[in-house]
Symmetry: C2
């Protein structure tokens, strides 16, 4: 059974039509304190199902994706006399989808579930349905099951309830998909600005749809993560190293920002190793530096960055580190091996591009 992906900015209508399709069973909405304030009033206004639903609100933040919050959800489902024919609607970001999905999958051995992602990152990830979880004992997503929602209703209308930083973070994933997909999509994304004042939800929706389809194609071509799915690591090897460095400086950066800067550096590597076209590299770098700003490094940071890249890649050899690189937009090469000297050169060029 494959979940439905519904792309629409008429979210309330879509939710009601899905709930009607299930015969109007009892509905419980699971959401977090952020979305309860910013999104739920809007959605309840447009959806009879949501307006009449039991509301279960958890504290926002990944640190609350834990057993205590989960037990609280189960208690509220019990108290509302939810049944197995009932449906849970998860309204929120990835944290709500993960934990609400797990709660639904396990209450009375499985209620149905509809996801309404309210962040760009959760929307982009929606195609990889079925990964539900909570953190446990200090380990992310330690406890969970695979359980697909009936459907995900993917929209862009709620994104402006979030800080611009949140949207840009998700947009970095869309840029990555565009690099993996080809020139057409890449050009469209680089012509668009996802943040105020240019942000237009209805213009973003078709771009988001294309982006989700790219991920869906890659994931379904490689369910076991042995091959082409590794292409989704693009930007992440350097990106994770930037994130670690920022953390060690006690000034963390959003994951998506680190991936954006990481993609710039990995496009430099792609240019050096696989002749990725210089003009596209420059256009991409300009877009990232203009929208995401600059992540400052100097050559004294190189050893720590390279050590972090090694740790990120379990299969690194003493001489080489594996990357997903690109011959061109849409032409990834997974398992490209790169020497430490090449990485240092690429970091030099990143600093040139960034003017630091």
């Amino acid at each position: 059974m494959k979940q439905k992906l519904i792309f629409t900015n008429q979210v309330g209508e879509a939710v009601d039509s899905l709930v009607a399709g299930l015969g109007w069973p009892g509905v419980a909405v699971i959401t977090d304190t952020g979305a309860a304030e910013a999104v739920l009033p809007l959605l309840a206004n447009d959806s009879k199902a949501v307006a009449g639903a039991t509301r279960i609100v958890v504290e926002a933040g990944d640190e609350h994706k834990n057993l205590e919050s989960l037990a609280g959800i189960w208690e509220r489902l019990s108290a509302s006399e939810a049944t197995r024919s009932g449906v849970v609607v998860n309204v929120g970001g990835g944290m709500v989808g993960d934990m609400g999905g797990f709660a639904a999958a396990t209450f009375k051995r499985g209620m149905k579930c509809i996801n309404v992602p309210t962040t760009l990152l959760a929307a982009v990830d929606a195609s990889v349905g079925g990964k539900t979880a909570i953190n446990f004992n200090g380990v992310k997503n330690q406890i969970g099951v695979f359980a697909e929602p009936v459907a995900s209703v993917i929209s862009t209308v709620y994104f402006n309830t979030l800080p611009a930083q949140e949207i840009l973070s998700g947009y970095a994933e869309m840029l990555k998909h565009a690099l993996l997909e080809g020139d057409d999509m890449l050009t469209k994304l680089l012509d668009y600005s996802p943040v105020y004042p240019a942000f237009d939800p209805d213009a973003l929706l078709p771009l988001l749809r294309e982006s989700v389809k790219v991920k869906e194609r890659i994931v379904s071509a490689d369910l076991t993560e042995q091959g082409i799915r590794k292409a989704l690591n693009l930007g992440h090897t350097v990106g994770h190293a930037f994130e670690s460095l920022a953390l060690s400086r006690k000034s963390p950066v959003p994951h998506g920002y680190a991936v954006a800067w990481g993609m710039v550096t990995e496009l430099v590597l792609s240019h050096m190793a696989l002749r990725f076209p210089s003009d596209k590299l420059h256009r991409f770098a300009d877009y990232v530096l203009k929208n995401y700003g600059v992540f400052s490094i100097d050559c004294k940071d190189y050893p720590a960055l390279i050590a972090a890249m090694r740790q990120d890649k379990k299969n690194a050899t003493p001489d080489k580190i594996n990357f997903t690189l690109l011959h061109d937009a849409g032409r990834p090469e997974i398992d490209s091996t790169v020497s430490e000297d090449d990485i240092k050169s690429a970091l030099d060029i990143y600093r040139d591009l960034a003017g630091i």
Copy 2:
């Protein structure tokens, strides 16, 4: 995917061969304090996999099938660095299978699992694999998932570590299956005594195998519990009423015993309504009264018993109550409606048979 049912009294060998088939991954044994003392030393002696396994022991008793014990299992799995390719071996009764199965199904989104039921009741139920659960908030099996084990290794060698009462309780379910299956099986079971001094594990094993197959056939013929699966309620409508009465007298009786006395009464009803043969009724009643003793009732208990039967059957009308009755051994008639007067007459006859 359907789990393997392996009937053998060479339990250790069977477990090792299953674990070998999975490539000798890491093994964790989940068991309760009872089985840890009575069964685990025997099994570890016969199984390399069990001998070398991480041992996770929970307190025995259904009242410990809760979130706290579950979290304890997850913590122990975490501490032992169990991975998704690892396997959990559940050694115990239904409580261990339910909770250990749920822990395995949810740890890192799903480890593999092998069940080794050590009680007759859990063994008889093994074919209905995949129902995992814990109790929550005072509701039995409120939280769980459907997740089948790789295999259940069904044996009779550990039953004599249990009180005779435990074996007889499970044997009542076997008697029920025999009534639903036919004369051959019924005769074999009525010729056998499952308790000391006659108890012979190797003679019981083929009977158990046949019994499990009966249940498997009925369940797989009616996965949604709309039709013939209701036949498995045989003996339970009156049985539950006896159980409630015993509870209200503050002298509870084992579930299987109540079902055995309930079957006698429902065979009386079958004789009255559907001409179930009188000689078989008498032979069955003699066996039950000899092995399970007598449950005492008098006519002042009838209103409470009938009220309990009504409550057990959501679809009872003011005049009639639904039962599964039998034309003969092997010829069940589900949804047979019976009047209150018939029930009173049947209870009178039950008392005659019991000599009370």
